[in-house]
């Protein structure tokens, strides 16, 4: 349904040839709007690179905000001294150096991962509901964390990291193995359904433990909301290598995703090794989402929403979509984190909750204002 009110309509002469009298003007405008939507707001490499620089600048701004703003108010002069003067000590310096900087860097890493993983996931499942968690990653991580709490008595965010990561890997391997074992291989639908089924099984395990053991629930409920706070700086270093490899795989996978978007048969005909592309992409998604979930708990909304925003800007070309999504993920995550620190001072609202409460209305407004670029 081409709807064009609200969206800026730029008619292009070659798309709206003058000599077609049987086409009504509104139809031409609708065609142009559809074209606009399909290709995104920014066209041409130069404008898109400009857009990337703009996003990078935004990332720098939110990083600065994340370092400067917190539940403890510290004036900007002190913040600057703590950053530049190694001799400056005191509580404020400790807060800045030991808490806010590691937290900001962790936010950057996790935002990059979730944004890029979301773009890959929606590309591979060709489904607007393709949340990175859908691949069984979040469910696997949750199940592993619940078992770690219940059986081994682990009870700190740093202690959960490796369990969550291991669970995420197992969940995703199980989904891929089952989703690709039917006839026809790993089709978008079989992957999505296998992911939904495995996730449901794992969440059933989680729920079964939670309703029978309230002390596990007591620890788990604080992990599952997803938060950047309370993680010491070692967590960032632990997940960094996985995220780095994941980002490389995501970029490497993006040309193949463009081909897969034409349908598997066409992609195969154009010389693309479909299985290889799926394996690379799913390894990337698993590493990125697994590492992010291990570090912060399941933060769902970023990976789901950011690719839709990015697609509205860049159109469906994954070579642009993936980096745009990654950077937008950082901006969204850190902005939500900063907001969560100031709304309920002196307490904090966890980033996962802020993301949903603020991000969802924004997302719905966007969905209504213009039809998003379809997958």
């Amino acid at each position: 349904m081409p709807e064009h009110d609200g969206a800026p309509v730029r008619t292009e002469p070659q798309l709206a040839p003058q000599g077609t009298p049987h086409r009504a003007p509104e139809q031409l405008a609708a065609d142009a709007a559809g074209e606009q939507r399909r290709r995104g707001l920014l066209r041409g490499p130069a404008t898109r690179i400009g857009g990337l620089w703009l996003l990078l600048a935004l990332v720098v701004v939110v990083c600065a905000l994340s370092i400067a703003v917190g539940s403890r108010s510290i004036d900007l002069g002190t913040v600057w001294r703590a950053l530049t003067d190694p001799g400056f000590t005191g509580d404020d310096a400790v807060v800045i150096r030991e808490l806010r900087i590691p937290r900001t860097l962790l936010g950057v890493l996790v935002g990059l991962s979730l944004g890029a993983a979301g773009a890959l996931m929606q590309g591979h499942t060709r489904n607007p509901l393709g949340d990175p968690g859908l691949l069984g990653v979040a469910a696997g991580a949750s199940a592993a964390v619940v078992l770690a709490i219940f059986v081994l008595g682990v009870d700190s965010p740093s202690g959960y990291v490796w369990f969550a990561f291991g669970g995420a890997l197992l969940g995703s391997v199980a989904v891929f193995a089952i989703g690709s074992s039917g006839r026809g291989g790993a089709t978008p639908v079989s992957l999505a359904l296998a992911g939904a089924a495995i996730s449901a099984l794992l969440y059933a395990l989680v729920r079964a433990v939670l309703v029978t053991d309230s002390s596990t629930l007591d620890s788990y409920r604080f992990w599952v909301v997803g938060s950047l706070s309370g993680r010491d700086s070692s967590v960032g270093w632990q997940v960094l290598p996985f995220i780095a490899v994941g980002l490389v795989l995501a970029m490497a996978n993006s040309p193949a995703l463009n081909l897969l978007g034409l349908g598997e048969d066409v992609a195969r005909g154009l010389g693309q090794n479909v299985l290889l592309a799926r394996v690379v992409g799913i390894t990337g998604i698993t590493l990125l989402t697994g590492a992010a979930t291990a570090a912060c708990g399941p933060i769902g909304f970023v990976g789901l929403v950011v690719p839709h925003l990015a697609r509205a800007v860049t159109g469906p070309d994954h070579r642009w979509l993936v980096p745009y999504s990654a950077l937008m993920g950082v901006v969204l995550l850190l902005a939500a984190d900063v907001l969560g620190r100031v709304v309920v001072r002196p307490g904090e609202l966890q980033v996962g909750i802020v993301l949903a409460l603020v991000g969802a209305p924004f997302f719905i407004a966007l969905v209504r204002r213009r039809t998003l670029a379809a997958l």
């Binding site: 349904m1 709807e3 060709r126 489904n127 607007p128 509901l129 089952i178 989703g179 074992s181 039917g182 006839r183 026809g184 089709t187 639908v189 079989s190 999505a192 359904l193 296998a194 939904a196 089924a197 495995i198 449901a200 099984l201 969440y203 059933a204 729920r207 079964a208 939670l210 309703v211 029978t212 309230s214 629930l217 007591d218 409920r221 604080f222 599952v224 909301v225 349908g263 769902g300 909304f301 789901l304 929403v305 839709h308 966890q350 996962g352 909750i353 993301l355 949903a356 409460l357 991000g359 969802a360 209305p361 997302f363 719905i364 969905v367 209504r368 039809t371 998003l372 379809a374 997958l375």
Partner: protein, 361 residues
Amino acid sequence: MSPTLTRPRLGPDKRRTVRVGPASGVVRTRQLVVPVVALAALVVVSAASMGRGDYPIGVLDVLRTLVGAGDPTQQFIVTELRAPRVVVGVLVGLALGISGALVQTFARNPLASPDTLGINAGASAGAVAVIVLGGSAGAGGQLLGGLGLPLAALLGGLVTALLIFVLAWRKGVDGYRLVLVGVGLSAVGIAAVDWLLTRSTIQDATAATVWITGSLNGRTWDQAWPLGLVLLVLVPVALACSRQLGVLQFGEETARALGVRVGATQAVVVLVAVTMAAVSVSAAGPIGFVALVVPQVAVRLVGGSRPPLLASGLLGALLVVAADLLTRTVLPVALPVGIVTAVVGAPYLLWLLVRGRRALT
């Protein structure tokens, strides 16, 4: 999503056409066999479920009692104590199955269901708010406490349903927009629940966790009657929409050309689906996975290009009642039924996927 719903024709087409007066249609054997078998299984499992308990009653005795020919003691036990739980289970499963089939067909997306559209999350947020904030002082707490749990859940679910419809409506409901709006609302509901859980006492958090898992414990005729009345109206409406929904699969313009009132059909389908889901959630809590998995299982059993409504409803009822029976017999701890539906349903869907007889897109 590419809505390619054709399958390659191999060999002669064995489907039979039936013509009655001006109406004609294709009859597939499995289209009839699956609902009939599901209904028979549902009756047997329900009877077995009503027979289980401290005072065991045989399946045949239960059936005899239900038609009014049992002895008074059994009559009382079955109709007053055990039947409500099973009836609520049947109705909830029926509602979830049909609702899921409607949404998945309408959105042409196998992942779309009332679960993912946020009905469950909205109802859960209402219920958890009552559990966590209901005892607290202040006007809000008093109001919530007075509202009561089922009503708050119903309100949460209905408000979410209405929001989905209103927000997704722009000169008609587009399946894509419906799904995305639902995802956004769902995220809000889940975040609200998670947030309330972190703020509550651990006792409240445990009670809330049990509720949001979905359970049939302690259900009485008080829950069964309203649910039954609502479904008595909505199920026929849903079934009546089936043909128009099928035509809509060809796209809006084709449907319009074939004489379907597109806007009206879309409105009816979406409203019926979300209302059914909301009402069933308020009766038994958000029993997850039924609405998502049952239509996918049904379409693989029955064949055809989209989830069949009646078969989905009956299989949904069967899944819920069977899962409830399992929680009370096989398992050492009485787990809420919402856990067991996933444990029973998920492996079956996985098996169907692995076997992959036909590639459905």
